[in-house]
């Protein structure tokens, strides 16, 4: 296939061409990370495919196919669906606040009878990126810098964040807020406004911690600040995780030989703390390799974002990448004792279908942006539908 062939009108709409345009190196890295996750799950289950490893690989395969399918979807379809998805997310968030199931003390789940149940906040992680990308697509660079128009993204971010925080699910609320703010910044928010915002946050966070947060949330933060004070209570998770990491050393204890994970000292070893399991059995070498793979994913995704012709595509891809990067950084910091335990998994490495689905849909969007990077998306000022 020659360059001239791709310039032929209609050529890029052929499915086979689109398929070839997918970043297959990126896909290989995805498979490597998911494979590393399955490897660790096999180890901590005592060399068993059950209960996690097989299911993890199966889900990944399913979502991988879904990602490829989503990558085929024209960017204009994504554009058209941006606001509907956001509104659907909002409606479901309101619904969950009214009729949602209470599980583990939080109202996060919406039950669909025999179809199972899911957390609407997951839709919002994607919805907020799409809606903001569409919004900024329609306004000028000058307006994106600082204007009255910016009240709209402020409400678009604020409303779902408050609803999710009310559930209460502070981790997801922070993640949605951070993703939204990342898009706002990427779109070109004035540095002065950013500086003022950072200052305001610095002033507002300590009183918020004292008066707004729930007890368990506050406890997590204090525990994070001094885990050694209470090694068998709430500090247990952080301490055991650090022990697992540190005792791995340079080369690790060997596959299947991590005493912290195999003997259950490590909490949530197959989900939130799977990175510590990896660290214990494969040491610094293993961890650094996996971190490198994550860095490569983020780099490739941002490169995709930067080559897109449409502003919507750019922002959507970069915003999705920002969410992913936040997942990685927050989980990494938590496992290493640099952040409080907030229940954010390591994407693709950790066991769990919901987050993997969100992440893979996001990568589907990013690949769609790549496949359709030369597409122009019609401009239109901020109609909400």
């Amino acid at each position: 296939m020659t360059v001239s062939a791709l310039t032929r009108p209609g050529e890029r709409d052929r499915l086979i061409v689109k398929f070839a345009e997918i970043d297959w190196l990126f896909c290989l890295v995805l498979c490597l990370i998911a494979g590393a996750g399955a490897l660790m799950m096999f180890s901590i289950a005592g060399s068993n495919w059950q209960p996690w490893a097989a299911s993890h690989l199966f889900k990944f395969g399913l979502f991988f196919v879904m990602m490829v399918v989503l990558a085929m979807i024209d960017l204009r379809v994504w554009f058209a669906l941006a606001y509907p998805i956001y509104w659907l997310g909002m409606i479901l968030l309101v619904a969950v606040a009214v009729v949602g199931d209470v599980r583990l003390g939080a109202q996060r789940w919406l039950s669909f009878g025999p179809l199972g149940s899911f957390q609407p906040s997951e839709i919002m992680k994607l919805g907020i990126v799409l809606a903001l990308a569409r919004f900024y697509h329609g306004i000028s660079a000058e307006d994106a810098k600082f204007s009255w128009w910016l009240l709209i993204p402020a409400v678009m971010i604020g409303a779902p964040v408050l609803l999710v925080a009310h559930q209460p699910d502070l981790g997801t609320a922070i993640l949605i807020a951070a993703t939204g703010l990342a898009v706002v910044v990427l779109a070109g928010l004035s540095w002065r406004v950013i500086a003022a915002g950072v200052l305001a946050a610095a002033v507002a966070i300590p009183p918020a911690v004292m008066f707004v947060l729930h007890d368990y949330q506050r406890k997590r933060i204090f525990t994070f600040l001094s885990p050694e004070n209470d090694p068998s209570g709430s500090g247990y998770h952080i301490l055991q995780s650090k022990i697992a990491l540190g005792s791995g050393g340079l080369l690790g204890k060997g596959y299947g030989l991590g005493s912290q994970s195999q003997l259950n000292f490590l909490p949530e070893k197959q989900t939130d703390f799977i990175f510590a399991t990896l660290a214990e059995e494969f040491g610094f070498i293993g961890c650094a390799s996996v971190l490198f793979l994550y860095g490569a994913l983020i780099f490739m995704a941002l490169r995709t974002a930067s080559v897109a012709h449409s502003h919507f595509g750019r922002l959507a891809a970069a915003g999705t990448t920002a969410t992913f990067a936040l997942y990685v950084l927050i989980n990494g910091a938590m496992v290493m004792g640099l952040a409080p335990v907030v229940g954010v998994p390591m994407p693709l490495l950790s066991y769990g279908g919901t987050v993997m689905m969100t992440v893979m849909i996001g990568w589907g969007l990013v690949q769609s942006v790549r496949v359709h990077r030369y597409s122009e998306v019609t401009s239109g000022k901020g109609a909400f539908l």
Binding site: G246, S247, G248, S259, L263, G295, V328
Partner: protein, 649 residues
């Protein structure tokens, strides 16, 4: 599209900002990842050793192994206390088990009735988590293996092999050696050896009485440890035998006691209540220290039921009580040896006589003797145990001199024999009276005569009387008793290291001659014959009132058991070359000569027959009579091969 230039500027500006900001974001993500990498390097490369240690202390636990308790042996090495294997069933409380269900399923294999289950559930709940509680001891092999096979389905249950203390001689040594028992909450101290975690081990026993208690720390040894891998809930995953630390067994304690003498001594008491103490009167070693009746110390190890314990503690002859040390009695006439010696030391002429008419009025009352002895001198008075002579002698020299002599012989004293429980008794004098009787501090002359016959305030224990005889027999040294010969092979100071006996040897010899006469012609002539040829025993009888006789009451024969007189006999043998000193008390036994002397004779015989030198002396073949060498003319020449002696011709 109508204003392409503006459109392009607009797009380019948006794109330019986006590119700069994306580059920045990528940089931030890179910095974030690098920071994670830095923290990883810090944890995994710099602090790796510290965390490896923490990880190992998570992974491995040491399970304490109680050390084998030290043996207790007699002077010849006969084992008096040892350990035997014991299959034991233990249950511990854990996060995910329910003691009630577990005990119910255990009841299918071992007998556990509902009441016992209820008590065990309480014990298990009260014990710290994962500290096992003993559910059954001494299981059969079948029970042990049946439970071991099912152990995986019974969380918190272990069946293991421990050791249990055994006292092969049953009751004979119960008072001296004591026994071991489970550790109580009161035994635990915040610091010191009783704070050690081994105290919580269900197989660990603590000394409760006697030697077991006094030398508990020596006998205990040092616990070993078994390295085991555990999971986060503390369940054992596997054993790591390479990391085990061997237990150090407790020290062996050798007593000076002799198992044969001790056992025979308890035997001769039969159903009677009393005590017997024997000492080697050259070294001070205590060869026998018996209190009768006794109890089986093994039953205390296994744990007594309330009813069993009450039966022992309520019995009027008090088997739990060590009558050789803890009980004091008036010494009765055995004290006359001291009074006589005190008189000799005070310069009283032993040839002075006194008339005994069976009764003697003094101080407004009549003082009785058991019969009318006629005119007696000091020797006769000891031999016939004439009270009236000693009433008067005591009056002559006064209480202070008697007390001083008695104290030289160990009366009123407690000795360091290692075990506790000695009561000092009382040797009264004027100072005592002043001290103890604030209202009536003066010593009245009327109190002296009863002291002369070992009554009144005078109170001694059996060990003291034995020390008295041993010193009389030794005649050189103020011997001290030694009960513990060696601890872990280290010899303890012998009793003959004591100072000299500050008494005139001739006076001592006088008393000893009189004591020899007691058994040959005196009060104990009929009952104190050893039957060992020329090896004879010297002694002194004593009959001590246990209560004040009422008007007209002269003997205690017809009284209830607990009002009868105490019978004493003190002795040493052989009287020409003393080796063994002995005191025998028969509580409420009546006459000393009748109740105590025959028992003393039996105990003494065992000791003498066991002594190889004495045995050689007894078994010495009678020398061949000198057959005169009569040679008659014409007679046949003597047989060239004479028949060996004893061959019938």
């Amino acid at each position: 599209m109508s204003e392409p230039s503006i459109f392009f500027t607009e797009v380019n500006e948006k794109q330019g900002v986006f590119h700069r900001r994306t580059f920045l974001m990528g940089g931030l993500a890179g910095i974030g990842l690098a920071a994670l990498g830095g923290q990883l390097a810090h944890l995994q490369l710099v602090e790796a050793q510290r965390y490896q240690k923490l990880s190992a202390s998570n992974q491995f636990n040491y399970r304490l192994v109680p050390p084998p308790r030290g043996l207790i042996v007699d002077r010849t090495g006969v084992v008096l206390a040892t350990n035997r294997p014991n299959f034991r069933l233990l249950v511990a409380r854990e996060e995910d088990n329910d003691p009630a269900t577990i005990l119910k399923s255990l009841a299918n294999f071992v007998p556990l009735d509902d009441a016992r289950q209820a008590r065990l559930i309480r014990d298990i709940d009260r014990a710290p988590k994962r500290v096992p509680v003993s559910v059954m001891e001494d299981m059969t092999w079948e029970q042990f293996s049946a439970i071991n096979v099912r152990a995986p389905e019974l969380p918190g249950v272990t069946a293991d092999m421990g050791e249990v203390r055994v006292y092969p001689h049953g009751g004979a040594f119960a008072h001296v050696i004591g026994y071991v028992a489970k550790v109580n909450r009161e035994d635990m101290t915040p610091t010191g050896p009783n704070a050690e975690p081994i105290m919580l081990h269900p197989g660990f026993r603590i000394g409760r009485q006697g030697v077991e208690k006094a030398f508990d720390l020596d006998l205990r040894g040092r616990p070993g440890a078994q390295k085991v891998e555990v999971d986060a809930k503390g369940h054992e995953v596997r054993q790591d035998s390479g990391g085990d630390i061997a237990a150090v067994p407790g020290k062996q304690i050798q007593l000076s006691l002799d198992a044969d003498i001790q056992t025979r001594a308890l035997e001769v008491f039969g159903e009677e209540s009393g005590a017997a103490v024997m000492m080697d009167c050259r070294t001070g070693d205590v060869l026998c220290l018996v209190s009768a009746p006794s109890f089986d110390a093994n039953s205390f190890v296994r744990g007594l039921s309330g009813a069993e314990y009450r039966a022992l503690s309520d019995y009027e002859r008090k088997p739990l009580f060590n009558k050789a040390l803890t009980a004091t009695y008036p010494p009765g006439s055995t004290f006359k040896t001291m009074v006589a010696l005190a008189a000799l030391e005070a310069g009283v002429d032993p040839a002075q006589t006194c008339y005994c008419g069976g009764a003697w009025p003094y101080g407004g009352r009549i003082w009785h003797c058991d019969k009318s002895h006629g005119t007696v001198d000091m020797h006769q008075a000891i031999v016939t145990s004439c009270d009236i002579f000693f009433y008067q002698t005591a009056l002559k020299i006064g209480p202070d001199l008697i007390a001083a002599t008695a104290r030289k012989f160990g009366l009123g004293e407690t000795f360091d024999i290692g075990i506790s429980g000695q009561k000092p008794g009382l040797i009264p004098d004027r100072a005592y009276k002043r001290r103890a009787f604030k209202k009536d501090p003066a010593w009245h002359p009327g109190e002296t005569p009863s002291m002369g016959i070992g009554q009144g305030y005078v109170n001694v224990n059996a060990l003291q009387l034995c020390v008295m005889v041993a010193r009389l027999a030794n005649a050189e040294k103020a011997l001290r008793p030694r009960l513990v010969r060696s601890i872990g092979g280290v010899l303890q100071p012998a009793g003959d290291a004591a100072g000299d006996l500050p008494v005139n040897r001739e006076h001592l010899q006088f008393v000893r001659n009189a004591m020899a006469a007691v058994t040959s012609e005196g009060t104990a002539a009929a009952t104190a014959q050893l039957g060992l040829g020329d090896v004879k025993m010297a002694g002194k009888t004593g009959t001590a009132q246990a209560h004040t006789y009422r008007e007209g009451e002269r003997t205690s024969k017809s009284l209830a058991w607990d009002r009868k007189d105490h019978a004493w006999f003190v002795a040493f043998a052989p009287y020409d070359d003393p080796r063994y000193a002995l005191s025998v008390l028969v509580e409420h036994g009546g006459f000393g000569a009748a109740a105590a002397a025959p028992r003393a004779r039996e105990i003494m015989r065992v000791a003498l027959l066991k002594d190889p030198e004495i045995r050689a002396r007894i078994e010495k073949p009678t020398p061949m009579p000198d057959i005169p060498d009569v040679v008659t003319d014409g007679a046949a020449p003597p047989d060239p091969t004479p028949a060996p002696p004893g061959t019938p011709t």
